[in-house]
């Protein structure tokens, strides 16, 4: 496991190398936030497109935070296993809304 970047055996000097990565992610996050807000001021015709763009950007940002700040990029297998399981059930929960209305037919008034 010694090859992982965050192994405990790293000396302080070696560790310093990572700092640049953190700053870079910080800048990226701020820029992406700016882009999201900027796009929203465009008042896109298609709301679907606006939602898609915003959510994609948010996912990229979340990915950066998780991968770098939470150093998921090189994590141990157990944690991946737990997260994969969680992701699976998370998708299931995200499916609930469509199940709630799915096939309830034209009679469903949704309000």
């Amino acid at each position: 496991m010694a090859e992982t970047t965050h192994s405990h055996s790293e000396s302080p000097e070696e560790f310093k190398k990572h700092l640049g990565k953190y700053y870079a992610v910080f800048v990226a996050l701020i820029c992406l936030t700016a882009i999201t807000v900027g796009v929203s001021y465009l008042k896109l015709e298609s709301r679907g497109l606006a939602i898609a763009i915003a959510l994609v950007i948010a996912s990229v940002k979340a990915g950066l935070v998780a991968a770098v700040f939470m150093h998921l990029i090189d994590e141990k297998k157990v944690i991946y296993a737990v997260l994969i399981l969680t992701a699976l059930f998370f998708l299931l929960v995200l499916g609930l809304p469509s199940l709630t209305v799915y096939e309830h037919g034209p009679a469903f008034q949704g309000q």
Partner: protein, 585 residues
């Protein structure tokens, strides 16, 4: 008899460490054993309490509209005007019975009690991974329980919308429902803390040599249970938060537009969905029913292996089944909602998954029965309860099939057939397994053995009575009798099966009386039970390597595991058991 006059070599575990003050040792203890016992005793108390609620309720069902002698007076005029139960009080008793039995009784006993006490011992750990978190979990749980019980004293009484708390009914119910929500938030939080602790403990703290395939089945069951709690509970917590918002802040997450309650239009924004609650609730509550059964199966496995004096049949198959069961339990929840008007694709999907999930249960049961084959079966008290578990769970499980198939569920949904189904799995099923666990691990926890004669009386009377309680419910359900009915005689088909209600109630009160030998035995054995050494059952798993009761840090020497968990009757051995922790064989 004084506790110091023992000659068993293990007692030095008590001595030799500096004494913590009483409140640190027994109240705010961080020791998993003390916390386990706290959980267990609290849970036993609530089981009795929940049962008492039901015994009162059974009066109304057997003799609708007749005043309940003595107790009717005590309960006061709002609950029991003139000694006759008010319908709203009936509904409170029902909702609280369900909630208390599930969330304050069985889960805390099975997971909080047995899980906490036994798991670290069985894996050879000195304690849980996070002792203080463990303490916090109990001390979040207890206020939750107290709050739940206190709701009876709020204006309008306790929650009365069923343990399922379906909105809009629960949204417009009296303030007791808000209290229910808040205490559920506490109880859920406690469970989450506990489940994190279990997973970390089992993954990280296993003794040397204790690979996953050497874990006792009970530990596997607890591990799967912990994952169910961890991932299924948060959606209910979210739903409960939204229900609190609906009730306190006037939002309408679960309230559609245009509701007219008692002739008045409800003044809310509307636009919510009552089915959303049901999905979130059952997303938890189906896994939850496996939370009730898996630890019970774990206990049964331990007791059966120990008392048949042979290895469990199909140990690996059992483990695969339990993992599969845990996984599948997340994708069957909507079988509780077949009658909410879902379409054919969705219902076909969910009835298929429901049938699939019954297969691992069949396998588990088969493994248990096959474990009896070729054994040398000792009918100790724990074994009696564990043996009874098998056919009782079989009845409960088999009657799940007609409910899981959409076409038959049209007729059976929300009838007493459902009540019969799940009580067979939770009462003579889980509850009996828990009794088995109490009798089995009591010597480990206290160093005293429970009285076998009282135990046998407890078993046989309970076994007979409980079948009189739940078997007739299938016939009532078949006759079409709805559940949660304050007065079943309102309906002609209800009058047809009213005689059975009398039988059931007599059975329930008989079952209540049958618990007296247990309660007596429990307290008497604490004081006067026969002293036992480390391993009174000649068992093989690690908890029997520790002194009885185990001292701080559990083991005198760090345990090392040399073999599979259930090496009983190994050929060529003088003893009929070869413990995991003894070297050489």
């Amino acid at each position: 008899m004084s506790e110091t006059t023992t000659h068993n070599g293990h007692d030095h575990a008590h001595a030799g460490h500096h004494e913590l003050p009483f409140w640190r040792k027994y109240i705010f203890s961080v020791d998993h054993k003390v916390i386990g016992i706290q959980y267990a005793v609290t849970a036993l108390f609530f089981l009795l309490f929940g049962f008492t609620l039901m015994m009162i309720m059974r009066w109304q069902l057997a003799y609708p509209g007749q005043p309940l002698p003595v107790i009717g007076k005590i309960l006061g005029e709002t609950a029991m005007p003139g000694g006759v139960m008010a319908p709203e009080f009936y509904n409170q008793l029902g909702a609280m019975h369900g909630t208390i039995m599930v969330f304050l009784g069985v889960v805390p006993l099975a997971v909080g009690g047995f899980g906490n006490f036994v798991v670290p011992l069985q894996i050879g750990a000195p304690d849980m991974a996070f002792p203080r978190l463990n303490m916090a979990s109990y001390w979040v749980f207890l206020p939750g329980c107290v709050l739940m019980i206190s709701s009876f004293f709020f204006p309008g009484g306790a929650a009365q919308s069923g343990w399922t708390s379906y909105p809009p009914l629960s949204d417009i119910a009296s303030v007791g429902q808000t209290v229910w929500c808040f205490s559920m938030v506490l109880i859920i939080t406690s469970s989450l803390l506990g489940s994190i602790n279990f997973i970390v403990t089992i993954v990280q703290l296993r003794a040397k040599g204790l690979s996953y395939w050497r874990l006792p089945f009970f530990v596997h069951a607890q591990l799967v249970t912990a994952f169910l709690l961890l991932l299924a509970f948060p959606p209910l917590e979210a739903a409960t938060v939204m229900q609190i918002m609906d009730r306190v802040a006037g939002t309408s997450f679960f309230l559609p537009s245009g509701l007219v309650v008692s002739g008045e239009q409800l003044k809310v924004a509307g636009g919510g969905s009552p089915l959303l609650w049901q999905h979130l609730f059952w997303f938890l509550a189906h896994p939850e029913v496996y939370v009730l059964i898996l630890p019970a199966m774990g206990i049964v496995a331990e007791v059966i292996a120990n008392n048949t004096r042979k290895p469990l049949w199909g140990y690996r198959l059992l483990v695969y089944s339990v993992v599969f069961l845990g996984f599948m339990s997340f994708v069957v929840w909507a079988h509780h909602m077949f009658m909410t008007g879902m379409g054919t694709t969705m219902s076909t999907f969910f009835q298929t998954t429901t049938m699939i999930i019954s297969i691992p249960s069949v396998i588990i049961l088969t493994c248990f029965i096959m474990s009896l084959y070729g054994g040398n079966i000792r009918f100790t008290t724990p074994m009696l309860f564990a043996t009874a578990f098998l056919p009782m769970f079989a009845i409960g499980g088999l009657t799940g099939l007609p409910l899981g198939l959409t076409a038959s569920d049209i007729y059976l949904h929300d009838t007493f057939y459902v009540i019969g189904h799940f009580h067979y799995v939770v009462a003579p099923g889980t509850l009996f397994a828990l009794f088995a666990g109490v009798y089995y691990w009591f010597p480990k926890a206290t160093g005293k053995q429970m009285n076998a004669t009282l135990g046998k009386i407890h078993f046989w009377t309970s076994f007979v009575c409980i079948n009189f309680v739940f078997m007739p419910m299938f016939f009532q359900g078949m006759a079409g009798l709805s559940r949660r009915l304050y007065d079943p005689t309102v309906y002609a088909h209800g009058r047809g099966v009213q005689a059975l209600n009398v039988v059931i109630s007599l059975g329930a009160w008989g079952l209540g009386l049958s618990q007296i030998p247990f309660i007596v035995n429990f307290f008497m054995s604490l004081k006067r039970g026969a002293r036992v050494a480390e391993n009174p059952w000649n068992a093989t798993t690690l908890e029997w390597a520790a002194p009885s009761p185990p001292g701080h840090g559990n083991f005198l020497t760090e345990p090392v595991v040399y073999r599979e968990p259930y090496e009983y009757s190994v050929p060529g051995h003088a003893n009929d058991y070869s413990p995991q922790f003894v070297e050489g064989s």
